[in-house]
Subunit: 456 residues, 2 copies
């Protein structure tokens, strides 16, 4: 109902097809109740959560460029922003699809081409969604001209290599991650300054910039209150403690934002996101050709999605080390919602870089594995940890700012089985089992340990 009210507020025509689209997930739930009794409760709460947020995200219509809008987070976010009536332009160099080719992997879900995706969305939603092929690292002149031509209100920046294991695979990939991510981010800031436009940058960062256990308690949102020598209080950018080259690039980005904010007054919102899980959102489930990508491979599959895939295939969940790592998680549909909130609540001129922790909850990896194992009985297999990280850590994170803006996030417990049945289960025949195990190692010691483990 709130979706409908919003549509009225915005003066849109309330037609039948729109009503059907809005109600689609509810209808879908009703139709599939008999399919799997277990899924009913989680699906219902999941859907309700998706709907309760909408009122808080209302903002004026904006022109929004989504850099990396063809990717795992970028695509559902682009649709969500379009659905919210923003004028969305996707910019992408399709690097994620190219890396699939390079690694011999593929999304578990069959994803349509970006051209088809945009066309289908137009057919289904009636909203224009444009696409521009552009490489942020290499096409600076085109980027600058594009900004001058389009004059966007906001740019959402997802256009970075985003897998920690890929970033640690070898020197080629370490260098690619650094060069691609940092040059891309810097080119964007540089072009914004050069364009003399007042464009709000919304950047996808990671909780991993903080490291674990260095805050002195709950991890605050970006800035840390400390007492300096001599007793003076100060609020500093939270010290960086990245655990991979990928995470390092997000720490580097943070310094670039601080500088361009200080020197040129660029308005930036940096979102320190937890590990994203899930696949679909209210928008991507409207048509199979809109489906989001689902990565389950050792490089790009985030821990929970890998577990879900393994559960669907009924093979043991691969836990790295003791599984004592505590991490922050967020569902993909909340990613899209948070971006929307960030766009609708930009920093004012002169404000320092706004930083939000974009997470729903924290969970220990072995608890996550046990949760899935309890429900599926697929078993658990502990592997030598390919990563150099603490075996066990606690994690307490503030996500007060998004909650204050009305976010009521989906939790793993509530949304989990949905994914198992509908994605991992449905497309399991597309899975290449040889790709699930880790094949990137943080350093030589970790590679050696894994080799010994395998030989055992």
């Amino acid at each position: 109902m709130r979706e409908i009210i919003i549509a009225i507020i915005r003066g849109k025509m309330l037609n039948l097809s729109y009503t059907i689209l809005v109600l689609f997930p509810v209808i879908a739930v009703a139709l599939r109740v008999s399919m799997n009794g277990l899924t009913l409760q989680s699906r219902r709460s999941h859907t309700m959560s998706m709907m309760t947020m909408s009122a808080a995200t209302i903002g004026p219509r904006k022109k929004v460029v989504v850099l990396g809008g063809d990717g795992f987070c970028g695509w559902p976010t682009s649709l969500h922003l379009s659905e919210q009536d923003h004028d969305v332009i996707i910019v992408d160099n399709l690097s994620r699809r190219k890396i699939d080719i390079e690694l011999g992997c593929d999304s578990l879900t069959p994803i349509a081409s970006i051209e088809d995706r945009c066309q289908v969305w137009r057919q289904i939603s009636g909203k224009r969604l444009r696409f521009r092929y552009l490489d942020l690292q290499h096409d600076y002149a085109e980027l600058l001209q594009f900004l001058k031509d389009e004059k966007p209100d906001a740019v959402v920046h997802f256009a970075e290599q985003r897998a920690a294991p890929y970033s640690m695979k070898d020197d080629r990939r370490k260098r690619y991650t650094i060069d691609n991510n940092l040059s891309g981010t810097h080119n964007l800031l540089c072009a914004i300054v050069e364009s003399q436009l007042d464009i709000h940058v919304v950047h996808l960062g990671t909780m991993g910039v903080y490291g674990y256990g260095t805050s002195g308690g709950e991890i605050p949102e970006g800035y840390l209150d400390v007492i300096l020598p001599g007793g003076r209080s100060s609020k500093i950018l939270h010290p960086a403690n990245p655990g991979s080259v990928y995470h390092l690039t997000k720490c580097l980005d943070a310094l670039v934002f601080q500088f361009y904010n200080k020197n040129d007054g660029v308005r930036v919102t940096d979102l320190h996101q937890g590990i994203v899980w899930g696949t679909n959102t209210l928008e991507t489930i409207r048509d199979e050709r809109l489906i989001n990508r689902f990565d389950y491979d050792g490089d790009y599959g985030t821990v929970l999605n890998r577990f879900l895939m393994q559960a669907a295939l009924n093979i043991p969940l691969t836990v790295y080390g003791t599984g004592g790592q505590t991490r922050a998680f967020i569902h993909i549909s909340d990613t899209a919602r948070c971006i929307s909130l960030a766009i609708n609540n930009p920093p004012k001129a002169g404000d320092k870089v706004e930083i939000f922790n974009q997470i729903a909850e924290t969970l220990r990896v072995r608890d996550l594995a046990n949760l899935i194992n309890d429900k599926t009985g697929c078993g658990i297999r502990n592997l030598e940890n390919p990563r150099k990280e603490d075996a066990e850590n606690d994690l307490e994170v503030s996500n007060q700012k998004f909650c204050n803006l009305g976010l009521s996030p989906v939790t793993v417990e509530a949304g989990l089985l949905d994914e198992v049945v509908n994605i991992a289960g449905k497309y399991q025949q597309r899975c290449d089992r040889s790709k699930v195990l880790p094949n990137s190692f943080w350093n030589k010691a970790r590679a050696d340990a894994a080799a010994t483990d395998k030989a055992r």
Copy 2:
């Protein structure tokens, strides 16, 4: 005498030509006493200071690669290390000379080609000094093979675009500075890990990474003691507060070092250097073909060298803003000595990144201008500040670590007039006066202010 004792300690043949070279500066002073009575005292203390350090820098002979060894700091350092009997290989892409061409500028001093420089040094010192043309940003494969072939004990990393004004000139130069500096540094670390060699990295950073007034007192050497929320004490990497894209790259480098040190145990010494002034060292004055470069232009000329040039030409010293900026300074000969100390005192395996503040003293810019004006009467002209920075700041910096290793640095007061007479004066006919004024502006507001100032 200590130089001679060191030579004996190292088992070198003590021959006549060596003795003459060592004593050359002393002889030169004696010969030139009558030339300018004013210079006698400063020159003597300068020379003595150069000599008192030597005993502390004795270390085992090492193979040392100097990246950027053709540049303003790199060249005298390479000679100093060679003189100290290290096996030195200069690696450079000659970018500094190319930028001169790009800007239509040239070193005030006539510098020989790198090939001639190396050959002359061999003739004069009897020591081999090799040169390899290589671009750190673009020639990764060659860099890796070079490291594998040469197996250096240490790499000194000067190979970065090092002028703040140039880095702020326009989007092309901002991007070049970021891409060149960060990719270069990362390629180096990446190649060291890939080579599986235990190479000590000595990096030239800048005092500018700290910003001004954010430490709560004296700026410590790299790490800051803070009290975290909850009352726990912690030693954190000093928060970054860069004042230009150039300074930003040094802050980015610092995070790269922290990561590769933590993940792969790379041993790194990062030197946070003050503003370098002066031209020659004990080694570069041995033959005019060994002379170091001297930049006086608005982009590459550091503040004190610009003032010296202006004094020699008897034109007013151009002070930006009120001249209330307090900065840290170091003489070029101390730069070379500090690098030598850093090479001879590497971090141990497992140590965190070692950080030294490489400075002699702090001075307020207007005091510096007054000092020179008092002695030369050339006058002072206050310009609109092209930089976005605090008009006035205090600065207190610890340089205890180098002092503990025996550094007794040259001060401006002691070494100043030497430079005016011998460099700026001698080569003043080579000066292009049109290049002295600032022509890079930190942002649009600063450019506008400068234009208004000029129109007045």
